[in-house]
Structure formats: structure tokens, C-alpha cells
Symmetry: C2
Subunit: 107 residues, 2 copies
DNA sequence: CTAGGGCGTTAGTCATGACTTACCGTAAGT
DNA sequence: ACTTACGGTAAGTCATGACTAACGCCCTAG
């Protein structure tokens, strides 16, 4: 259900960049914005979306706010991927069996 | 590189629906459009995007065009997910070691 | 060879969302 | 208490993309 949030969150290139940077270690917003081609408020907005998708968590650190990766979001996506994959595999097997039965009826 | 295409392709709800339907078995465009809340041309456009992302393949069948799931696209996403996950794990381990060293210097 | 079903494409419309600038709250440091 | 760094929020702009209607092409059936 929430996989929709996670997938659309990671669809944006800037958010993927933010996410990959956080994978290399926790960072405050300011440092995160340095080196990115967008302004700091833009980064804040992206972080808000990533947080809502369960992809990052934040904790206050004095006047800063440190963000880091949240494993739950990745889990959502992986679960959805696996489910689609299983359905596809089952459908493929069913098709093969159906074909085999047909071939047996008319040799 | 192409994981960008696959991720942004699956960000759209209608395309996810199309993709999940195809997981249940190959379908021509017309049947795919039936039961979807959008017009047939819209489905065609979505299929074009899914195909460019390596998520589906198509083959001509008389006057129809049958679409089915392409495993490559899912592989792209999974590979990217795994990579980000590995980076995060390494960073976490490095942080733990750094902490341990600091603790040893000042008991 | 003609008729018609099945799809892809184009043009145009409308909504969504990514971005910046300006502003305000909050938590330290002097 | 004053100031300054840090970050979230609001308002407004602009581009992207999802959709429909209309058109044209190919393939098969008769």
C-alpha cells in the first residue's frame, strides 16, 4: 500500500541523490544541500517526502537536524517487487502446464 | 543508469496497475485497456514507457500486439536497491568501528 | 481488392510537482 | 537578553507528464 509512496519518492533524481548520500552516512540538512544543484529549502521538501515514504528518519541535534536512512522504506519496495515476481512466475508455470495438456490431447 | 527509467516508470499508479496485470499473464493492448479507468491510447503510451524502461516486451500477433513482463527491468531496480543497501551497511560498520576506537583511547 | 478491427502517434488541455525567494520559529554562543 | 546559525513553511512560478480526441497505418477476413 505504502509502496506507492516509496516508489514515487525514489522516482525523482534529486531525491535519489539525497537518498544515496544518506546511505554513505547520516547528515544534517545543510551539509546535504552543499554539493547539490538545488537550494536548501528544496532539500528540506525532498526530505519531508522521503520521510513520509518511510525511507529516512530524522533526529534533532542541537540546532541541526540529522537525517539517516530508514530500512523500512526499502523493505516495502522489495516486498512489492517480490510479490509481482511471484505472481509472474505462477502465471508462467500455469501457462506451461496448460500448453502441456493441450499437446497431450492432440499428439 | 537505466534504473532511473524503471523507477520513474513504476512511480505512476496506472502503470503499476498495467504492470501488475501483465504479471498475471500476457495480454494484448485492447484487453489490457478494458477495466482500466483510462482510454486505450493512454494504455499505449504507458506501455511505450514501460517498454523503454525494460519492464515489458511486446510481440506482434496478427493484428494485435501482445505485451508481457520483461525480467530485466525488475533486475535493474533490485540491483540498485541492493547497492544502496550495501553502501549503507558499510557506512554503518565503519561508524561502529570509529566509535570503538574512540572509546579505547579514552577509557 | 476492399472492409474493418486493432494499435501507435499527434496535438492540445489540464493538473501535478519541483524549485526559488522570503519569512518565522528554535536552539546555542557571546 | 541579543545575536547568529540552522532548518521548516508559505506563496508563487514554471516545466513536466498524464490524459483525451482525432487521425493514419498495418494486418487479416471475406
Amino acid at each position: 500500500m505504502t509502496n506507492a509512496l516509496a516508489l514515487s519518492a525514489l522516482a525523482d533524481p534529486t531525491r535519489r541523490e539525497v537518498f544515496e548520500r544518506l546511505a554513505r552516512g547520516p547528515l544534517p540538512v545543510g551539509e546535504l544541500a552543499l554539493g547539490l544543484p538545488v537550494s536548501r529549502p528544496a532539500v528540506s521538501q525532498h526530505l519531508k517526502i522521503l520521510k513520509a515514504a518511510g525511507l529516512v528518519t530524522d533526529r534533532p541535534d542541537g540546532t541541526r537536524r540529522v537525517y539517516q536512512i530508514d530500512p523500512r522504506g526499502l523493505g516495502q519496495i522489495r516486498a512489492w517487487l517480490d510479490q509481482v515476481w511471484d505472481v509472474a512466475l505462477d502465471a508462467f508455470r500455469a501457462e506451461v502446464e496448460r500448453q502441456a495438456e493441450q499437446d497431450q490431447e492432440q499428439p
